[in-house]
Symmetry: C2
Subunit: 406 residues, 2 copies
Amino acid sequence: MALIVQKYGGTSVADAGRIKNVARRIAQVKDKGDQVVVVVSAMGDTTDELIKLAYQINDRPDERELDVLLSTGEIVSSTLLAMALEAMGYEAISLSGAQAGIRTDATYSRARIMRVDPERIVKELDKGNIVIVAGFQGITDEMDITTLGRGGSDTTAVALAASLGAGVCQIYTDVEGVYTADPRLVPEAQKLPEIGYEEMLELATYGARVMHPRAVELGELFNVPVLVASSFSDNPGTLIHGGVSMEVRNKVRGIAHDLDVAKITVVGVPDRPGTAASIFESLAKANISIDTIVQNASINNITDLTFTVARSQLRKAMEVAKPIAESIGARECVSDSRLGKVSIIGTGMQNTPGFAARMFRALSEHGINIQLITTSEIRITCIIDEARVKDAVRALHRAFELEKEG
Amino acid sequence: MALIVQKYGGTSVADAGRIKNVARRIAQVKDKGDQVVVVVSAMGDTTDELIKLAYQINDRPDERELDVLLSTGEIVSSTLLAMALEAMGYEAISLSGAQAGIRTDATYSRARIMRVDPERIVKELDKGNIVIVAGFQGITDEMDITTLGRGGSDTTAVALAASLGAGVCQIYTDVEGVYTADPRLVPEAQKLPEIGYEEMLELATYGARVMHPRAVELGELFNVPVLVASSFSDNPGTLIHGGVSMEVRNKVRGIAHDLDVAKITVVGVPDRPGTAASIFESLAKANISIDTIVQNASINNITDLTFTVARSQLRKAMEVAKPIAESIGARECVSDSRLGKVSIIGTGMQNTPGFAARMFRALSEHGINIQLITTSEIRITCIIDEARVKDAVRALHRAFELEKEG
């Protein structure tokens, strides 16, 4: 008898019919004799609707109150899913995050799980119950309700799988798994049967929004195998686990892209200590998230400093950067809002030369100009013209022969 | 500095605008320097909508799951009310029934409050917070959420007022207070500035649906003065308390009525031990609530047994009663579904003769035939033709000079 943790996202439980469908899937697992713990998100747009209601009443709602409000969404879906299983003749019980023992710090709206006290879950499993846990939420030591922020329900599921010693954490969502590239851009993209945690992290962070990076990190930390699959089909999905990077035939595993990139360049920055700090401190104070930062080698103690932000933050970022640039004696501050990003990702790239060259060659052969380059251990990213992102993803997919993957 | 407990019903917090309005009322109390604990119901039709959703999924939803589901309604309204107060610059915090220390038995859907552990509320009041408590809910010693059933939020408010030693429990609703009769039937009906617990109980049970009898009983038990008033006006309302019956100028305090009465008579019942028991045991098993029961004195060991039920239960009650009547050798079983009930109520009626006679005289002067009569210490009730209930209420209101009340 295995213990399986499953998670179903908001679109999978959006209405009564879909909740019944999810219940049938859970029942199939239970019928095999396994113990099942299920984590659910709030139904469809519930969370957005509750946020809207809160902002109608207070344009800066208190974070503690907002967390309590939002936590009701997952409680509703968890009770309905338990009822759906009971209607099919199965024993089931819903537990709130608090009852499930998800203990967090008191950082409202983006709390971190400190520990899991799974006694109640274990007790209910021992009674023969299917346990349905409200995702996205926990409780502080002062018994105040918190929510876990973006990717919260995925994180709940992986944390429960880790603390219960589950054989696998199954994340059911509205995509079929992890692909070598976005199938909407690359028709020949292949679903990966498996992928390593680090590769998945780079894919998730760089635009393949299948699963939140935070939940992947937690999986890696506790070595929990995570299956990502569709709740609308019986196709096998992608298993994210730690044992895949030992032997990789094809060393690039996937192409990630991002169409929402804007660039700001501060031109002619006097190269002395503290200039970069003064710019980025001001941007941080204005709550602007910086993505890539590139500074060229300085010539005559003058350098150019370039960074990228999401397009929606460009105007605000320019308002902050311009006066700072002036005050530090830079020549000017220019921006470009029509950029995109394309990345190749794979653990096999570590300590293996030639990947960057192949990438740049493939892009140049298609006449795609590279504006910025950044790299990590297992990733190479190029910032290019937004209009060429689609071509770039296809070209790279072919160049690294990813249509043979999967 | 006084401590005041207020309760606002679902219509008073039905949307963002009304929640803000309630927040302004609470702020006025806080401005006077008093400590305030507020109990809220779920917004508008939320509870009914959640019940509907549950029944779409399971036609016999588990009571534990249903209670968890329904409890979210009051949590939503409590957080929104706290946010509304914060938007006005007041310190406020919402607490679930569990956090507020409402400890109940495990009778899901109609749990009884066993005790209140108000430490958290006291702590938050001491910090200067206005405390908003989600009504209608509590928690068992096993940390499972329960709901209190009909009148639940009123009961929460009175229980909190009792355990916190509040000077008064203010129930704000969509009526102006307790009247000598239903103002829609009797234009000259007067609002009572005060009324005793027992009188209120009889009025509440017998059709004046201002406040649930259960909450009135709790008020009486702990001697908590309860003010019933409108959340949409600043009119004074009615104070329900224990000190009113010492001197009552007019001994009938109010006229209650009920238009939803059906009657079943088992004719020709052999008068031997156990016949009544066999009928009412079967009805109880079928979950049919019996209201009034009247058995006439037997003649030749044959008697008639009459009882009343809500109209919606008549068909089911007849299906149960007919075969039983046959089996005990009764002559027949007849029903009448077009009946109503009118009652006069007043503590001053105790040990004072003449009230019944005045009531029957007033009805007969208007040609209203009395079908059944039942009495309590402080109430006399007549079952009459439904079509004459309105006339009866008006006639009795005049006969006992209630237009001079208030």
